[in-house]
Point group: C2
C-alpha cells in the first residue's frame, strides 16, 4: 500500500519542495498526504496548494503545548500518516506528539550533529571556524536534535564564505539528503542498534 | 632559514612518522629538531632514533605540572623550535607551556571538533551513531581541544564498521591532514579572524 507522508513547516519549506519533487520523480515511493503549518502565512502552504496537496493550518497561540500536540497527532492519525517530516517547523514537539509517532518522525538539521544543535546552526559553525559542516537527518525524540541519525552529508566551509553563502551550500545538501533519508526510512530496510541506524548488508 | 619542528608523543607516534615522511618528501619545508616523550618506552622514540632525530625523555612523576611545562618549554626554546606538534602526547599543557609558544602549537584530534572532544573520540562518535566523523588539526590553547581549527577532513562511518576499523580509517586521514596543516602554518600564509583560520585569496 502506498505510504503517506505529512510535512510540517513554518516558513518557505524549501525542504518540502525538495521532498515533493522527489515524490514526483518516483524517488520516494509515497504520497504527501498533508502539509501542516502553525503559521497561516507560511509560503510553503502556497506551494503545497499549487501541487494539489491538502494543507492544514493549526495556529498555536492560546493553546497549551500538550493540547496543541495532541490535536496535531489526531489530525495526522485521521489521515493515516506513516511518516512525519519536519521541514522548518519552528516548534518543539512534546511527548503528546512524539509518543504516538515514535520512530516515525524525521527532522533535518543544518549541521553535523551533535555539533551545533539548536538555532542558527550555520552561524554557530561559521563562527566556531570549522572547515567542515553539513546537515543531519535524524529521528525526532523528546530531546533537542538528539534522536538517532539516519544520514549526514558533509559540506566544506570556504575562506570566502559568509554565513549566507555557507547556509545556501548546506541547504543544497539538505535538499539531496532529506529525500534519500525518507526513502530509506519508508523502505523499512534498516535497524537501530543503540543509537546507530544501520542498513542491512546488500 | 629552515624552520624547526618539535614533535611531542607518548606512544607509537604514527602521526610523527607521517610528519617525518612528509619532511623527507619535501612536503614540509622544515626539519624535525627533536622528538620529546614523557614516556621512556614510547615506540615513537625508537622510530625517531632510527631516523637520526634527537630524542628527549622528560618523565613527569613527582613534578608539578607548572614545573614540568616550564622545563619542557625551556628545552624547546633552547633548540630554537618554531612549531610544536602534538602527536598523541597524553598530557594536558598548562599556561606555563602554552603561553611561551602561543600560536605555535598544533594538535590533531580524531573527530570533527567541536563534536567529541577528549578521550576516545572515535568510540564516542561510533556510539553516538554519526554517519560522518573525521579529524581536526587545531592550534592548542589553554582549553581542551578548543583552539582555532586549521584543517579538518571528513571520514564516513560504515555500517560494517567496528570502533577499530573506524579508528584506522580516521588515522589514515590524520596522516594526510597533519602534514598539510603543518605546511600551511609554517608558511605563515594564513590569518586568524575570531576563531576562523583563513588562507589569503590565491
Amino acid at each position: 500500500m502506498n505510504k503517506r507522508i505529512a510535512v510540517l513547516l513554518s516558513g518557505r519549506g524549501s525542504n518540502f519542495a525538495a521532498i515533493a519533487a522527489a515524490v514526483n520523480a518516483g524517488l520516494i515511493p509515497a504520497s504527501i498526504a498533508v502539509v501542516v503549518s502553525n503559521r497561516a502565512g507560511a509560503p510553503g502552504l502556497d506551494h503545497a496548494r499549487a501541487l494539489g496537496i491538502e494543507t492544514l493550518v493549526l495556529p498555536s497561540p492560546g493553546i497549551t503545548r500538550a493540547d496543541y500536540d495532541s490535536a496535531l497527532a489526531a489530525e495526522l492519525q485521521a489521515r493515516s500518516v506513516d511518516l512525519v517530516c519536519l521541514a522548518g517547523f519552528m516548534r518543539l514537539l512534546s511527548p503528546s506528539f512524539v509518543r504516538p509517532f515514535a520512530g516515525r518522525i524525521l527532522n533535518i538539521h543544518p549541521s553535523l550533529l551533535p555539533a551545533f544543535p539548536g538555532l542558527d546552526a550555520q552561524k554557530q559553525a561559521f563562527e566556531y571556524g570549522v572547515r567542515i559542516t553539513g546537515c543531519t537527518v535524524h529521528f525526532v525524540d523528546e530531546g533537542l536534535d538528539s534522536g538517532p541519525i539516519v544520514l549526514q552529508a558533509a559540506v566544506p566551509v570556504l575562506d570566502t564564505d559568509t554565513v549566507e553563502s555557507l547556509s545556501a551550500r548546506i541547504l543544497e545538501a539538505e535538499h539531496r539528503a532529506y529525500p534519500q533519508a525518507i526513502a530509506l526510512v519508508l523502505s523499512g530496510n534498516y535497524s537501530i542498534e543503540g543509537r546507530r541506524v544501520l542498513r542491512p548488508k546488500q
